[in-house]
């Protein structure tokens, strides 16, 4: 899932100071799971904003909606009938949702209510960690299912580096060394010989370095 965290309330309030009608729009997908932009968070933020503005003597209309997804045309269409009545939409979706919403409705400003952080997992309630950077050329089959791109601070392909100490990374003593995890996993799988095989230089053009990416599948168009 895409993991995001809500922006500080002060920052959100500052961005909304000159508007009269606000739509707070949540998303039922990733941001709901990571508890930053689902229906509950929309209700809490809208309530806090109503009180904040009322306390400043401003009566601002704040409505709430939570779409199934903000990264698909069909769900964003639900806003078409209502969006013109708002001065601004505060979207609690990830950066993808905010952009798609903004592209679709050119006349209404769309502000982000969350900071989109990474693609990751829920390790436990309230703890999310990164697992994938969408590098466009998955090598998990060779590394025992542990990704050196997202789990190694240096994104090296034949590690570990000299900064690995007792299984931890030099950038943070609480952070596991990605390559130590790979070695441990290969050992468990009885495939430690694979560790000796050098991984060739990665084609980073498939990653973000190659510019914005696009996938076209004629078979499903």
């Amino acid at each position: 899932m895409i993991v995001a965290k809500q922006k500080p309330l002060e920052e959100i309030i500052e961005g909304l100071k000159n508007v009269g009608k606000i739509l707070v729009a949540g998303c039922n997908e990733c941001v709901t799971v990571c508890e930053s932009g689902g229906k509950k968070e929309v209700a809490v933020l809208a309530s806090a904003l109503r009180m904040a503005f009322m306390n400043q003597g401003k009566e601002i209309k704040i409505d709430e909606i939570t779409l199934e997804r903000q990264c698909d045309h069909e769900y964003l269409e639900e806003l078409r009938k209502h969006i013109d009545q708002y001065d601004v939409v505060l979207s609690l979706a990830c950066g993808v949702g905010v952009q798609f919403l903004a592209e679709k409705y050119m006349r209404t400003p769309v502000l982000p209510g969350v900071d989109t952080c990474f693609m990751g997992v829920t390790e436990q309630r309230g703890v999310w960690t990164e697992r994938c950077q969408g590098c466009g050329q998955c090598i998990l089959a060779r590394t025992g299912g542990i990704c050196p791109v997202s789990r190694c601070a240096k994104r090296i392909f034949n590690g570990p580096c000299g900064g690995s100490t007792r299984g931890k990374c030099e950038i943070d003593k609480d952070l596991d060394c990605g390559w130590q995890l790979i070695i441990n996993r290969l050992k468990e799988l009885g495939r430690l010989d694979d560790y000796e095989v050098l991984i060739p230089v990665k084609d980073w053009s498939k990653e973000r370095a190659g510019g914005p990416r696009k996938i076209v599948r004629e078979d499903v168009r």
Partner: protein
């Protein structure tokens, strides 16, 4: 015991304080409550293991939000007491009433009245 407690307090009964959500606390203030306090069981004796601990976290979240928006986080508080502690319940009710009286009315309510006038 038929103990008396301040009549300004409105009790909302829940099966467990774990049911209290952040939005319930915020909506109370939005609707004009001057203060909200959550009375849960003693820590460590929750029938559902962690309901009262979760409630405490939500009260803390509400406190942060209310401080940020200028309503005052002190208007919300968590108390833990056993169901057999009726005199303590009264103490808590009186303590909270004194505190809220000192803080004054919910500023939202005051602004709303001014706007309506």
């Amino acid at each position: 015991m038929r103990l008396q407690y301040p009549s300004s307090i409105r009790i909302i009964c829940l099966p467990c304080t774990g049911k209290v959500d952040l939005i319930h606390i915020l909506r109370s203030f939005e609707k004009g409550a001057d203060g909200v306090y959550v009375v849960g069981c003693m820590e460590g004796s929750c029938q559902f293991t962690s309901g009262n601990l979760r409630a405490r976290k939500r009260v803390e979240q509400a406190r942060l939000i209310l401080n940020t928006i200028g309503i005052g986080g002190d208007r919300v508080q968590m108390f833990n007491l056993a169901s057999s502690e009726a005199p303590r319940f009264v103490e808590v009710a009186e303590e909270m009433t004194r505190k809220i009286l000192a803080l004054g009315p919910n500023p939202i309510k005051t602004v709303r009245k001014k706007m309506a006038a």
